[in-house]
Amino acid sequence: MKQRKTDEGYCLGIESTADDFSVGIATFKGDILANVISAYMPPEGGIHPREAARHHAEVAAKVLEEAFQKAGIKPKDLTAVAFSQGPGLGPCLRTGATVARALASYLRVPLVGVNHCVAHIEIGKLKAGAKDPVTLYVSGGNTIVAAFDAGRYRVFGETLDIALGNCLDVFAREAGLRQRSGEPFGAVVEKLAKKGKRLIPLPYTVKGMDISFSGLLTAAINTLRRGEYSLEDLCYSLQETAFSMVVEVTERALAHTEKGEVLLTGGVAANKRLQEMVCSIAEEHGAKFCTVPGEFAMDNGAMIAWTGVLAFTHGVTMPITKSFVRLKWRLEEVEVPWVK
């Protein structure tokens, strides 16, 4: 193993929990030198884990090469290799992990397994300049309200069933909406919602600190099928109801923890209406509203690389024999010794 000073070096991060395969390169000081993302677009329907994994395997070499090129470094310059170890889809995670293991053992550098949710928070903090935020992380696979306390990111609230992004995606597909290349379904729904005017009553389900979207989704789809309302009004109502639910829980966490920052991240963070709502509660509680540019809010390799840096410089590495993927790895299981 190479021995290096901990204040200089490069970490490469591989993200492959779901439909995106991405490679990022970060310096130990927190500069992101590369963040190359290749998205798998299913011809129809949702993500088929095996199909997505096949895509990842096909593009891996190309994405790696592009990342090195963008960063202007060579593989031998790397100090550590990080990969998203979970939570996520099994076949996708395993593909990324295989690439990471191969690279680390070839280069004889340490391997770092990173929790995908921790990585979203860490890159958010880095890019938005937040120190100790309440985080609302909303994506296709996760809906979590978390904040740091006693060595870990604690989950204050989360979905009891499907994720917010998943709810929007499935609704969009049921409505027969089409996405343009590179455009997520959430963006299509957002565009239509802007033209909506009438609020259609839909179930609003907040249970304590947790939320549920499955009933809302079913009600929205049933309403759609009855054809009484315009699609614009339905998208508008779906967004308003679903977003109000997550924002209510975020506000509760903010009031409870009395933290000074709110960080909005994940794929759904790109939604302007959601940003506006989260910003509003931040103002009300005298907290700073932080959000991250799209490429760092969605699934990306840079966040894995940067969290890899944090973990590696605090002695968190793993032998390849123990680097199995963890499909259901919860955020609060992870110790984060780099946060004080």
Partner: protein, 222 residues
């Protein structure tokens, strides 16, 4: 509401503001649900009105079920304000960290008993946390904040209710969460029949197995 004098803000919660005031010579708490700017006005008003009417109703029913709750004096739907008795005492959230192990066990068992009584009478609290429980000078434990509660005998809702209690213990008393929850269940089992308890516990396990609570499944045995 003209008789109310000098409301003083005592807690600015996420959902409502609590004011301490005097009303006909009594100390009262005003719970006012303020409009939320982030929500559409139509949706906002609907949610606030619903909760303002619903909460006192549930609190009253809880009392009938044998669970102490603050007495409701007045409900002002137009201003989404509830006027209720002020309970002088300590939140269980703090109390649990201050008392001896034996007292802690008793408190948790008592909490469990009270939750059991609620469920037995078809009331689900909806936000069971140790900050929503107050012990007064006589040692009586009051449940407050029924804003997210509902009347239901559905096993799913009851399971989620207790599951939330467990999650709340984990996020605020993570060091002793396991032990606390075990005691809560002991108390709970003492008021409900064995079959119901078994069904509820099975339900909690099922909720946890839905994929999002695997760590709990591994770390906690109930």
């Amino acid at each position: 509401m003209g008789e109310i004098s000098q409301p003083k803000l005592i807690k600015r919660g996420a959902e409502a503001c609590l004011f301490l005031a005097e009303w006909h010579g009594r100390k009262v708490v005003l719970k006012r649900r303020l409009p939320k700017k982030y929500r559409l006005p139509v949706l906002d008003e609907e949610i606030r009105t619903y909760r303002t009417i619903h909460e006192p109703r549930l609190m009253h029913e809880a009392k009938r079920a044998g669970v102490p709750t603050p007495t409701i004096f007045l409900v002002d739907v137009k201003n989404s304000t509830i006027v209720m008795e002020y309970i002088e005492g300590k939140q269980l959230k703090q109390l649990l960290n201050q008392v001896s192990e034996g007292d802690r066990q008793n408190l948790c068992r008592k909490i469990g008993e009270l939750i059991g009584k609620l469920h037995m009478h078809g009331i689900v609290h909806g936000d069971l946390t140790t900050s929503n429980m107050i012990q007064n000078g006589d040692g009586k434990i009051f449940f407050v904040d029924f804003g997210l509660g509902e009347k239901t005998r559905e096993l799913e809702a009851i399971g989620v209710d207790l599951h939330l209690m467990k999650r709340a213990l984990q996020s605020t008393h993570y060091k002793f969460a396991e032990e606390y929850f075990k005691n809560v269940i002991e108390g709970y089992s003492s008021v409900l029949d064995a079959e119901t308890v078994r069904n509820v516990l099975d339900k909690i396990r099922e909720i946890e197995k839905r994929g999002r609570y695997v760590a709990e499944r591994r770390s906690m045995q109930i």
